[in-house]
């Protein structure tokens, strides 16, 4: 993999030489995120979020494993054991706040990573597999986050679990038995809490596995870049280390400043107060809302309020909610424009900034609002645009749009001219 001019790992000491012969782990790291991985030299700060997402996963695993040492996944004591962590475990409050806000931070970073992909069409050939694996990671994250939110066994934990597992009940014929089977009962209780805890512990490691595939797939064509023009010569690239390790280090600093600002000064701002009330199956909260990162999809779920062609509204909502994410799998084949970067696609750019982004903002807002007018009608219009954007507008734009001229190479886009690339123009070796 990688390019012909990628630097080769040379063990410096006797020990690393010995290690390189037996288990070339340093060589592997060197080629993956070291000087042996040539990366386009023009990446902007939107390319920081992959590394940050990896950092968030590690953060969640470390804090989560320690929290699991003190937490008790039993419906009778789960709530109190969470408070025990907050009050009696040394620095337990910090661990739990770090973990709860870490989930939010993970989603912020991943949403930015995904929207980077939308704007620069990172999903296009030859990078379809990276994109597909990315969507898988996102789905796994959603499942993990949902089950994690159930664990404190507060009111929103319980009722969120009830609503979300209730979605499976919308499936014709098998729905209700499936829901009972998933929960291990007719309503969320000890059986559900226990299995959610088990899966919540397992899934992050599955995510880590898919991330390895995601990065492996990335290293075959190499990273995309803001021009969308493929790497042509060595002058288009810089070694990952030290150039991007330094840049990612700075990005990590900014990220941690914001994250710790919330963690230490507004740790409950992103949560719902009702989750500090112990779960009570006999008292339904006035407004059941999921965590903020699910709001856009929750809005789509609730946008379908009337049965359509013999399809119950609830089933339509469930289909649409899952469809809203599944549609991302087909992006590489829906967007057929040969130009990748939104910078050179005037029409696409307009639909991105004035269509998709405001739509997501409206869906986000409506998903967190009560199911009343005008929020329901607003989310119906926004959902309409959401599906139209990906399934109708994107293919149409691709075929009618006249892209702006592309730079000859990455080097030219930065320096204004590129003599070496003209002389050495060779296709990138896979």
């Amino acid at each position: 993999m990688s390019f012909a001019w990628a630097k080769e790992y040379k063990p410096a000491s006797g020990l690393t030489q010995w290690l390189d012969e037996k288990l070339p782990l340093p060589r592997f790291v060197y080629n993956a995120v070291g000087a042996g991985y040539p990366v386009p030299r023009n990446l902007n700060y939107m390319w920081n979020f992959g590394v940050l997402a990896g950092f968030c996963l590690m953060l969640q695993i470390v804090t989560g494993v320690i929290l699991a040492m003190h937490y008790a996944p039993n419906a009778l004591v789960a709530f109190d054991s969470t408070e025990h962590i907050m009050r009696d475990v040394n620095w337990g409050w910090m661990l739990r706040y770090a973990h709860a806000n870490g989930a939010s931070a993970f989603f912020v970073v991943v949403y930015l990573h995904i929207f980077r992909g939308f704007f620069y069409s990172s999903y296009k050939a030859p990078r379809e597999m990276i994109w597909l694996l990315g969507v898988v990671i996102f789905l796994l994250m959603m499942a993990t986050a949902f089950m994690g939110y159930v664990l404190p066994w507060g009111q929103m934990s319980f009722w969120g679990a009830k609503v979300i597992t209730g979605l499976f009940g919308a499936i014709p014929l098998v729905g209700e038995p499936l829901q009972v089977w998933l929960l291990g009962g007719f309503a969320p209780d000890n059986a559900a809490l226990n299995r959610f805890f088990s899966l919540h512990f397992l899934l992050p490691f599955v995510i880590a596995g898919v991330i390895i595939l995601h990065i492996w797939a990335l290293h075959i064509p190499g990273s995309s870049n803001p021009t969308g023009v493929e790497v042509k010569a060595e002058s288009d690239t810089v070694p990952f280390h030290p150039y991007y390790t330094a840049k990612d280090g700075f990005g990590l600093g900014i990220f941690l400043l914001i994250y710790c600002g919330i963690l230490f000064f507004a740790p409950n701002a992103l949560g719902h107060p009702d989750n500090y009330i112990p779960a009570n199956p006999l008292s339904t909260p006035a407004h059941i809302v999921p965590e903020w990162y699910f709001w856009p999809f929750y809005a789509i779920l609730r946008a379908f309020t009337y049965d359509f062609l013999f399809i119950p509204a609830k089933l339509m909502g469930v289909l649409a909610m899952f469809g809203a994410i599944l549609v991302w799998f087909f992006l590489p084949w829906l967007d057929t424009s040969p130009v990748r970067s939104g910078h050179y696609r005037p029409l696409f750019r307009k639909f991105f900034w004035f269509g998709l982004i405001p739509t997501m903002a409206v869906l986000f807002y409506c998903g967190g609002a009560p199911a009343e007018e005008p929020y329901v009608m607003l989310s119906q219009l926004a959902s309409l645009y959401y599906f139209a954007h990906f399934l109708i507008i994107l293919p149409l734009v691709s075929s009618i749009e006249k892209p702006e001229p592309l730079p000859f190479s990455i080097t030219e886009s930065i320096l204004g001219k590129d003599e070496s690339a003209v002389l050495n123009a060779t296709p990138a070796a896979a």
């Binding site: 700075f250 400043l257 230490f264 107060p273 359509f308 829906l334 959902s383 309409l384 109708i392 320096l415």
Partner: protein, 273 residues
């Protein structure tokens, strides 16, 4: 295939949404949602400041002790505080001897069970005991107060507003919603979500408690003090959290400046990015 079926799927969802939108719009016009008393007369919490507010705020321990006194003498008759142990009260500035005395003199005792004789009895509380839960036989369900300020929007301000918000039901409300008269045994309070609650105004008159530090025990003062105490009980680590936060942010700021300089240095020979 994708380019053939994609737009069809898109159209399917689009038509279903237009169907829902149209039906919703029709029923919104033909039978608009009736206004409710809760919707029109419910008030957001009053604007009130606490010493612990903001990034630099710290608990006022004198106030917390006063608030604890109000809890002990007024609220504790009906409301439990099961996440707080007597030992935690040392955080309010009480000495070890004072904590012991508070535990020993606490009205509700710890139940005991003698396994040999099968006898049930009671003993005095000790500092390691959690505040015993209260069994309430009257109407309504008094919630445990340990976490109440975290479990409500605008926690401290909500509790303060509720305690000072009792009033006669406005005539305007009864005129507009004749069916919404406060039922017997309930009390009108616009800061409560459904306007009527089973708890009568617990802090009803000045000097209901006698503060030992000379602070005048007005209704407003007592309500504020007990709200401050409940902010503490929901998160005793609040002061430590903010202190730690400043140290962490200071370190991160320095580290980020260094990281920025390192990045600038590394990229010095490459134009762009």
């Amino acid at each position: 295939m994708v380019r053939l079926f994609g737009p069809l799927v898109g159209l399917f969802f689009a038509v279903a949404l237009i169907w829902s939108f149209g039906n919703g719009a029709y029923s919104a016009i033909s039978e608009p949602a009736a206004p409710t008393a809760e919707h029109e007369f419910h008030l957001h919490p009053k604007d009130v400041k606490f010493a612990s507010d903001g990034a630099l705020g710290k608990f006022d321990k004198q106030q917390l002790q006063r608030g604890f006194q109000v809890y002990k003498e007024v609220c504790a008759a009906c409301h439990s505080m099961k996440h707080i142990a007597f030992r935690d009260l040392a955080n309010l500035g009480y000495s070890e001897a004072e904590v012991k005395a508070i535990a020993k003199s606490w009205g509700t005792k710890q139940p005991t069970f003698d396994e040999k004789s099968g006898e049930r009895a009671e003993r005095d509380n000790i500092p390691s005991d959690y505040i015993p839960t209260v069994y309430y036989a009257g109407q309504g369900v008094p919630p445990d107060l340990s976490l109440i300020t975290k479990a409500r929007h605008d926690g401290g301000a909500y509790v303060y507003s509720l305690l000072t918000g009792y009033q006669e039901q406005p005539a305007e409300l009864l005129k507009k919603f004749p069916d919404s008269k406060t039922p017997d045994g309930l009390y009108y309070n616009p800061y409560f979500a459904n306007l009527n609650l089973a708890m009568p105004a617990p802090i009803a008159s000045d000097d209901q408690v006698t503060y030992s530090d000379g602070t005048k025990a007005t209704v407003d003062q007592m309500a504020k003090d007990v709200s401050a105490f409940l902010i503490w009980s929901a998160e005793p680590s609040l002061d430590k959290r903010k202190q730690t936060g400043w140290a962490v942010l200071g370190f991160l700021l320095a580290a980020t400046v260094l990281a920025y300089l390192a990045k600038k240095n590394v990229w010095a020979d490459k134009k762009g990015a």
